[in-house]
Every structure is written in structure tokens, then in C-alpha cells.
Amino acid sequence: MVITRGFSGRGRPAGQYSGRVPPGQHLVSDFPVLTAGPTPRTHLEHWSLSLRDAERDLTVLSWADFEALPQSEMTTDIHCVTKWTKLDTVWRGVTVDDLLKGAGLTNPPGRFVTAECDGGYTTNLPVADLIDGKAMVATHFGGDPLTPAHGGPARLLVPHLYFWKSAKWVRGLHFCDRDHPGFWESLGYHVYGDPWREQRYTGDA
């Protein structure tokens, strides 16, 4: 450990929250944005969400189809690899469990998922991290429709991983049996991204 001369730091989270802030993170009250390029804007009438496996579309949902699925609410902390953590964010959407059920699937059709998004962004996740209520495709934040800058109309929400995994503008979940590194993962970011183990970059334990 290298002590920084003169640095005492004042960002220690108030005691009650300290157990909720992963190492290297600090609390914010606003909601920063991190995106590689311009913000895509998709009109709802052109929006669809597909679930695919290696061969075919398992289901393609229009906005109306999506809205007709059971809606769930999730209150959760989120952690961005650029070092901010935001507590108690409130989301609404459809859990991946309900998406699979809606497509008539009892088991996920693969061990990994590549989330595919408007603008060409992709991210990879183990299916185990998406099911059993761990993740949703979210359309509302804090009670309001998700703004385009934050991934609207719909983004993936996988709050227990660094937030780049919660892909904005999601349009497809592609199930497969091998893990294919996505956009940031091919550019040096960690393939899994657990904030509690500080898995920021390739090679972090």
C-alpha cells in the first residue's frame, strides 16, 4: 500500500452505507452518463425486442407485447466502473424470467447471453446472472420513462455487475453456449465485472 502524502480523504460513506459501497467507488446523488458515441433515438413503433438462440428468433416482442408482460419493480444500488455508486435507484420493467416465460421457455436456451443494442453496442453475460429475479429489461427509472441518454426506451438492468453490463438501448438477447466478449470487454474491460471484487479491467482477479 502506497500512502499518498497529505491525503486524508473525505469520501468515506456515512457508516450506515459503507457496506453498500464497493471498493474504489464513491457515492453520487446525480446520475452520470457513460456512452461510447451519440445517443440513438428509437421510436416506440419501430422498437422490438428479440430473444434468439444460435439458430433462430425465439420470440420478437413489439412495444405493446412487452408492455403486456408482467411488470416488476426493482429498488437497487448501481455501480459504474468510472467509480460512482448510486443507492436505492428504482426501476420498472420485465424480468428476464418473465421474458423467457413469455416466450414459452422453461429453461434458458444457452449458458451465456450477448445483449445487442441500437448503435451496435454489445455486452456479454452468463445466463445465471440474468435469471432468478437478478435482472430485467427496464423501461422506467424513478417512476418515469427512461430517457434516451440513460438507455431509453429500454435497457438491460443487471445491478450486481458494473453498470456497463446493463446495456442501454437493448434490442436483443442472443443466447449461446460460449461467452463472446462484447464491446467494452473486447477493449480491455473485464469479461465478468463484479464490483465487489473490483473486476474493472482484463486481468483483475
Binding site: M1, G9, G24, P38, T202, D204
Partner: protein, 250 residues
Amino acid sequence: MTSAALLPLRWRTATVIARRPETPHVATLVLDVPGWPGHKAGQHVDLRLTAADGYEAQRSYSIASANDGTAVAITVERVADGEVSPFLLDDVRVSDDLELRGPIGGYFVWSLEDGNPLLLIAGGSGVAPMMSILRARAQALKPPAARLLYSSRDQASIIYRDELDGMTAATDGPRILYTLTRERPVVWSGALGRVDRVMLERIGFPPTDDPLAYVCGPTPFVEQVAADLVALGYAEERIRTERFGPTGAN
């Protein structure tokens, strides 16, 4: 996609070898990083500060220097109530050690092979990675055409002013348009007000030239500029953005 970006990153101890005030609220720190593997223009480092009781704070800073041996420059702007930036500006001295790792980032990067005309649009300290790009470009024998549109609060807040003006004066130098959002000088050849489509058309390239655009600054600035570029006909996949900071309330 460089393979270098996929090597594990480890924390290194760097030594501050120079400290240069740039504006009343901005300073550059030049760090000597033994074993530095080199970087591409546009990449950043993560700094880690550690208090005596083990408390750590990490922040990202863009590399402002071109690839230059083991010297790495960062340019820090004061966030008034910030934890790390005031410390870096007020308390860090030459010969202090700081921990960092990098280079990080494989998308908001530029190298000569990217070719094509280069349009850089910066707000405030978002000029730091642009400076790395312009410095790298200045080392090239046949650099691509480049233009910089750079928004500052007032004249006193323009970072790297002398060096930028020097670059413009050089053969093959970039064309630069400054704009000021909070000052209207009596004598001023730049633009006034926030970056808008008129300014982008004045300094930019026609989209048919297939320009490569880099936009960096505060989040609302980047959102607006990137949307304007798309509206002007720039290809989305040729617009690379880096957002430095929070959005304000949302």
C-alpha cells in the same frame, strides 16, 4: 482493438516531475511512470489515492501528452466541492508519489492510421484528450487535416492557449475555433455562446469527407454536440464520445 489494451493492468507508482498551472482552476501534472508501456492518444489513467488509514479514492484522468517515453501528463480541473481534484491542485508537489494504472480505453482513441479529416470538439477540461491527439498528430510527417472547436467559459479559462495557437500557426497545423459561453470580449475573433450547429458547420468538414469526430466534455455538452453532428449528417459510427462528469440532476 489493440492487443496491448488486453494486457492486465497493474498499479504503478509514479512520481510528479512537473506541475504547471494552466488557468486559475486548472493545472497539469507531469508524472514519470517507470515501466510505462506507452499509450494511444485519447486513453486515460486511473489514479488511486490512499490515506494513512487505508481509505482509498480512485478517479480517471485523460492523458494529455503524446506517447513520450515514461512521462505522462494529466490536466486536472477543480470541481469546487470535489474530493480528489482540489487535492491534486492544491496539495500535490513535485517529487510526490502517486499510484496509477493504465493506459485504459480502446475506443475513444486516435492513431495516425485512422486517417481521414479529424474534427475535435471539446468543452472545458474535455480538451485534455484532444491535446493528446493534437500533440500526437503534430509528430506525424503527413498529418490528416484537423480542426478543433473548443468551448470555454471565458478567455482566462482556455487551457493550453499558447500551445494551441502555436500549433495553428505551424505548417499543416489544425484550424481552431474557440467559443466563449460566459464572456463577450470587445475584441474577439472566435465564436460566442454554446456550441451549436452553425459553429459546427463553420469549423467542421462536410460529412461527405467522412470525417472522424471526437467529442469530450461534461455530459450535457457531449449529448448536445453528438446529436447535432448526427443531425448534420455525420455517420454515427464515426463519432466517438467521452463524458467526463456528472449530468447535474437527473
